[in-house]
């Protein structure tokens, strides 16, 4: 039951991020989603009572709930990015699209993969929804920071799949992936700085010098 609620929370947060119009809301949404994810993994770790999963849970908390959102906020403050996300699709349409995507994810898990087991099925559904919504955010939000967040939402979705469906990946892989996410965010942050310095904005939609 608790697990179901948490999964629901992850999905709701994904929707909330689609509805978000401001950067801080987006970052908050991500933090909250990560927190739900943390709770889920914690429950899983507690159930299986595995040390490795506890370590993963801790890292999740550290990286996704604390470090990354803080870093992004810091970047946003440093470059004095305005709060606007550069929505190319307004929130209402975005929400409808997100619902549609979730429905597709639902169909996909039900029909194509057909994994037995209530929890695994819904976890896969939620994780796919989150992944697709993350992609959707990346496609429709014009600002560089929003794209980073979209990517992170995708990663969250994948992590959910990894954590629940497979009952946790091999430990070293998990660690490497966390390390990797941290690195991605930092490097992307550096590039956001560079973009801001060279272009005096972070509107990546206007980065169309290279084409054809």
């Amino acid at each position: 039951m608790a697990v179901g609620l948490i999964l629901f929370g992850i999905l709701v947060m994904a929707f909330a991020m689609v509805a978000a119009k401001r950067l801080s809301a987006l970052i908050f949404g991500f933090r909250a989603q990560s927190f739900f994810l943390f709770m889920l993994t914690f429950i899983l770790a507690w159930r299986e009572n595995s040390t490795q999963l506890y370590i993963v849970t801790t890292m999740l908390f550290a990286v996704k709930v604390v470090l990354v959102p803080n870093f992004l906020q810091k970047v946003a403050r440093r470059i004095k990015a305005d709060e606007d996300l550069g929505l190319s699709v307004n929130p209402t349409v975005s929400m409808s699209a997100a619902v549609l995507l979730s429905y597709m994810a639902y169909l996909f898990t039900g029909k194509i993969v057909s994994i037995p087991g209530e929890f695994e099925n819904s976890a896969l559904f939620i994780s796919l929804s989150a992944t697709m919504i993350g992609t959707f955010l990346m496609i429709t939000r014009m600002k560089a920071l929003a794209q980073i967040l979209g990517l992170l939402v995708m990663e969250n979705g994948i992590f959910l799949a990894a954590a629940s469906v497979s009952g946790g990946m091999p430990f070293i892989v998990e660690i490497a992936i966390f390390f990797d996410i941290l690195l991605v965010v930092i490097i992307l942050g550096i590039f956001v700085f560079k973009i801001n310095r060279l272009f005096t904005h972070i509107d990546v939609d206007k980065l169309t010098e290279l084409k054809g």
Binding site: S88, M104, F108, I112, M132, T135, F136, M138, I139, T140, M142, Q147, V204, D205, L207, T208, E209, L210, K211, G212
Partner: protein
Amino acid sequence: MQLAGNFGDLSGDYLSLFFLFTILLISVPAAVYSTGYMMGEYGGKKKAVLWALLAAFVSSMALVVLTANAFVFLVAWELMSLLSYFLVVSDFKHEKSVKAGTIYIVMTHIGTAFMTAAFLVMFRYSGSFDFSALKEACSTMPPEIKNIVFLMLLAGFGTKAGLVPLHIWLPYAHPQAPSHISSIMSAVMIKTAVYGMLRFVFMILGIGAIWWGNLVLVLALVSCLAGIMYALTENDLKRLLAYSSVENIGIIMLGVGASMVFMKMGLPAVSLLALCAGLFHLINHAVFKGLLFLCAGSIYKATGTRNIEHLGGLIKKMPVTAAAFLAGSIAISGLPPFNGFVSEWLTLQALFTGAVNTGGSYKIFLCVCAALLALTGGLAAACFVKAFGVTFLAVPRSRAAERAGEVPLSMKAPMVFLAAAAVLLGVGAPSAIRCISAVADSVIAAPAGGITLSASLNTVIIASAIFTASAAAFYFMRPRRTTECNTWDCGYYKLGARTEYSATAFSKPLRIAFGFFLLPYSKTEKIRDSFYHVRSFKYEVFTTPVFRDYVYEPAVKLVFMAARQVKKIQPGSIHVYVAYIFATIVLLVIFMGRF
């Protein structure tokens, strides 16, 4: 992992040797010629590169005709194209050369793609690239596959040979290459395509249906006529010669196509005769076209121009070149007793014998073929009267032509050699035909007894008759007293280069008569001092190259248009790019069952 087959095998049959002989017959004089031609034209380093390329080019051609393995054939073929490309663009500072090279290599490569496909379809049945294995496999091939293979081979070899409508590269590439290279390319390289046709269609694939021959015949006729008509209206000497190569390839393929038809009709003797005619014309064309290109090179070297409208009177300045060019012109116009005559005569004989032995519509078709070949011959004579007359006779039309001087011995000697070969192949035709019929015999299994002709030909008698009659006339009517005077001027006092008949004017009747194909148009430009007084008047006449304007250019335009549309998929927006990935995965998942 290993390809089956013997890659080192060489084929030493008569066909290979015949082609090897032809290659060497032209390449060696051309190489000698190049020593003089390149002198002062290129620097030492570049000369060395050109020499190396030339040697490699000739070797690759030799490998093409000698190998007994289709894979090695393909490699050698590509090498030949590649090396000749570099030779074509050797005057790389000119935009034109680069363009010519591109057109050449592009056309050739498309042809090679067809060839490759044909080889691989055959390979599918044989599992080996050896000629013998391929031949065996082809006997078990279903007829419809055979048809496809034949069409692909025809497209592949036709491109290299310059069969209309695949001839488009010839008038670009041949003029732009250095003359000794144009000579080799036009005289022998395009012949390797005929070798390919004989080797792969006749000997390996086997003639599958009579329409193969008909198709080749029709293409050959179109090549003959289109080639010579373009040559007639051309004023750039080397382009003229290139178009004339299209015509002559047509004549060769006429023999080859007729041979295919007769073979399928069950007339092996006539088939042999037709093939003989084709092969004989092949070596003849090699000789005189090689010669003519070398002469054109000498003219270019001496005057710096290839436009015959700027030449004239060179016969007095360059007597040896003129004589050599005259020999080439007579030969290429198919006039006795030179070699071109014999092979054209043989082709006509083959068509005639075929017509005698067949009935109904084929009789008429073959007769019309012969008539059109005669038309080609007549037009070729007109074309080379123009080429020789305007270039060498009368008064020089430019300063460059006035100042021209004879070329050095290293350039003269090869020309004289090839001119002598042209005479020898003509006068010694009976022996030459015997040799060639042995070659043709190795291609098609014909009944014993060699070729049979419906009429005999002895060029020695003709030659001696002409010679005796001329000499007798000379003896009795030799001029005793002559007076030198100006050309009759109708009372106009300023006769000179400007009042001479120009090349454009010479070809005008034909341009008008064949206007339905050449689509001529003209541009005039008047500069007036006043309404009544025109200070200068410029008149230019052009013909429309229909194949270029109505086939190739639209096709190329279409391809570029499509490519530009494709370019739009990359608009530069990262959001679109991410959407692509998203859409791809979604679509793939939806259509997963299809894979």
